[in-house]
């Protein structure tokens, strides 16, 4: 019996990595284990994902059919086709809640303590979470695209344009993930995080070009909506999908494609270092 506990023939670990390359490989392996951990959560507890999918589908139906009947798109064209790229992006924003909650839950329940007491790369948890979220986002995009096709949305600029649009949306999601990780690490309370995120995310999506043209809003609000990072991604995606857009002549609108790349990079430049520092400061 004591043999099982103390002399496992199977449990001989490799020596810890010493060179930079070996360390990177070690970190990549740890990050991948952590990614698989979060993916296994989706399989074991699919309720969360299902609940989380209903919202965008509802948005498509409510905005597309109820409000959409009374909405006109400046370029002409179908409101639902105008709306769908916005719903894609909006779904990505709501991913913030899932990310922050999962990270807060880990910190709250002490499982992070075990990871930290093991020879696990310090980056593993955050890298694993962001990678898993990206894979989850792919799944969500696939579902949304099917929904979209069912309500009459389509891409009109070829597969290349569609892939580029999806890549931009995922880039934004990746940046959002890191905001979520940071939130989870500072709030540390899984229940509280969920309560904070929704009221923050809703105005963020409404105050953009997702549902209506910022030109129709009061001046100051329209400016905020135009400079909202979401708006750049949504405008760029509409353009690349060949869906009806809003047009406009302000700098930010004319450079939406560029800004759809720059905004997420700016967010990453802020929140990756903040999260990593915060994670290291758990030892205070």
């Amino acid at each position: 019996m004591s043999a099982t506990l103390t002399a496992p023939p199977s449990a001989v670990p490799p020596a810890p990595a010493r060179t930079t390359l070996a360390r990177l490989r070690w970190a990549a392996a740890d990050g991948w284990v952590m990614t698989r951990r979060y993916m296994a959560h989706v399989v074991r507890a699919p309720e969360e994902v299902i609940i989380y999918f209903t919202l965008p589908i509802m948005m498509v139906l409510v905005f597309g059919y109820v409000f959409g009947s009374g909405m006109a798109v400046p370029d002409g064209g179908s409101y639902r086709e105008f709306l769908l790229p916005g719903v894609f992006v909006m779904t990505m924003i709501y991913g913030l809640g899932a990310t922050a909650t999962a990270v807060a839950f880990d910190v709250d329940r002490g499982v992070i303590d075990r990871f930290r007491s093991m020879p696990v790369a310090r980056s593993a948890l955050v890298v694993g979470r962001s990678t898993a979220d990206l894979m989850r986002a792919l799944l969500e995009m696939a579902t949304l695209i099917v929904c979209g096709l069912l309500v009459g949305w389509q891409w009109r600029e070829g597969v290349g344009g569609a892939v580029a649009a999806i890549a931009l949306i995922l880039l934004l999601r990746f940046a959002i993930t890191w905001i979520g990780i940071y939130l989870g690490l500072i709030v540390k309370n899984a229940d509280l995080v969920g309560v904070i995120v929704f009221p923050a995310a809703f105005p963020l999506t409404a105050l953009s070009n997702v549902f209506v043209a910022p030109d129709l809003m009061p001046d100051w609000m329209g400016a905020v909506a135009q400079w909202n990072p979401l708006s750049s991604t949504v405008a760029a995606a509409r353009d690349l999908f060949g869906n009806p857009g809003l047009g406009g002549d302000s700098w930010i609108v004319e450079h939406s494609l560029l800004m759809a790349v720059i905004w997420p990079l700016v967010l990453l430049a802020i929140f990756v270092p903040l999260s990593v520092r915060r994670y290291q400061r758990l030892s205070r």
């Binding site: 004591s2 103390t6 449990a11 670990p13 070690w26 392996a29 303590d113 093991m118 205070r284």
Partner: protein, 329 residues
């Protein structure tokens, strides 16, 4: 690490949270291959000490070596050689027991097959095979603690930290944990066990350090400490508070130290050297003195009394906040 090096050496560890000195110059030397008990009340600094030694918490000053490596400079080497089981099960509650153990094996960089094999061994050893595919979140408290302990043993650590491993467990689960700890030490692991229970330290530990307000106040084998504390105590409860003084005098003659008198509960208690002789003498004398005793009995000293003996004061209630802070940190 050579066989003569201690498993753990801590010198002058200090950690402050605001005005609260969670560790106030803690010194600790733990020889290899034994269970070493860290005994103290809530807020004495036990958890802070364990978290510092397990590389989870940066202490303000002092130094510590675990398994031959400096916990600050060579934290990675230390982590490869330790296991940690805390008061709260640190496992993934969504994953199954098996998935948890395989994941921890993979994080220790065992190959896929080795990790699976090790998980099966541990599941069997801790009687979790039947529950292996259920989510850990659905486990009972005892099962979760066993899974947590199993997770600490994936690599048979040189040094295992057990922070109050039996708090909140029923007696059967507690015995299971004790049995596992004994088996581990037989295999050569060093265990640092924190506990609030004198009995637990007595059962398991070869040496004990009593800590209070972040500092070691006594160290030795359980026998040495019990001798210092005064071993068993005799306790007399009288029906009439007026008779307390006489009862105290009777108890005092049979005791090895000055009796304590508690008016509110009409209770006199004192440490005794020879339990049976003292009991016989006290019962006889109480009768002859015509004192109406509600209860006369022998019992082990409580931790509070041990503290009073060792430190000259009772564990301060105010230090309770330290534990809250420790768990939040």
């Amino acid at each position: 690490m050579t066989s003569t090096d201690p498993a753990i050496v801590a010198e002058g560890l200090r950690k402050r949270y605001g005005d609260n000195h969670a560790l106030d110059g803690l010194d600790l030397t733990v020889p290899r291959g034994i269970v070493y008990g860290l005994l103290g009340p809530n807020g004495a600094g036990k958890t802070t000490a364990v978290r510092s030694l397990a590389t989870l918490l940066r202490f303000d000053s002092g130094s510590a070596r675990v398994a031959g490596y400096d916990v600050v400079r060579d934290a990675g080497e230390v982590r490869a050689r330790i296991g940690l089981t805390g008061q709260y099960a640190a496992v993934d509650e969504t994953l199954s027991g098996r998935q948890n153990l395989v994941m921890f094996g993979r994080l220790y960089h065992l190959g896929a097959r080795a990790a699976r094999q090790r998980a099966e061994e541990l599941l069997e050893r801790f009687a979790l095979t039947d529950a292996a595919d259920r989510s850990a979140g659905a486990y009972s408290g005892g099962m979760r603690r066993r899974l947590d302990l199993a997770a600490s043993l994936v690599l048979a650590p040189e040094v295992l930290f057990l922070d109050e491993p039996t708090t909140g467990l029923d007696p059967r689960s507690r015995n299971g944990v004790w049995e596992a700890v004994r088996a581990l030490v037989e295999g050569g692991t060093t265990v640092l066990l924190t506990t609030q229970y004198l009995e637990e330290a007595d059962q398991l530990a070869a040496r004990i350090s009593v800590i209070d307000a972040g500092r070691a106040v006594a160290e030795g084998t359980p026998d040495q400490l019990k001798a210092a504390i005064g071993g068993d105590r005799i306790e007399v409860v009288v029906r009439d508070a007026e008779q307390l003084a006489v009862a105290a005098a009777v108890v005092g003659r049979a005791a090895s130290a000055q009796p304590e008198v508690d008016r509110d509960t009409r209770r006199v208690s004192a440490p005794v050297a020879d339990r049976m002789a003292a009991l016989t003498a006290v019962v006889g004398e109480l009768q002859r003195a015509g004192i109406d005793a509600e209860d006369v009995g022998l019992r082990r000293p409580t931790l509070d009394e041990a503290f009073l003996q060792l430190t000259g004061h009772r564990p301060a209630e105010t230090t309770d906040t330290a534990d809250t802070e420790e768990s939040a940190a």
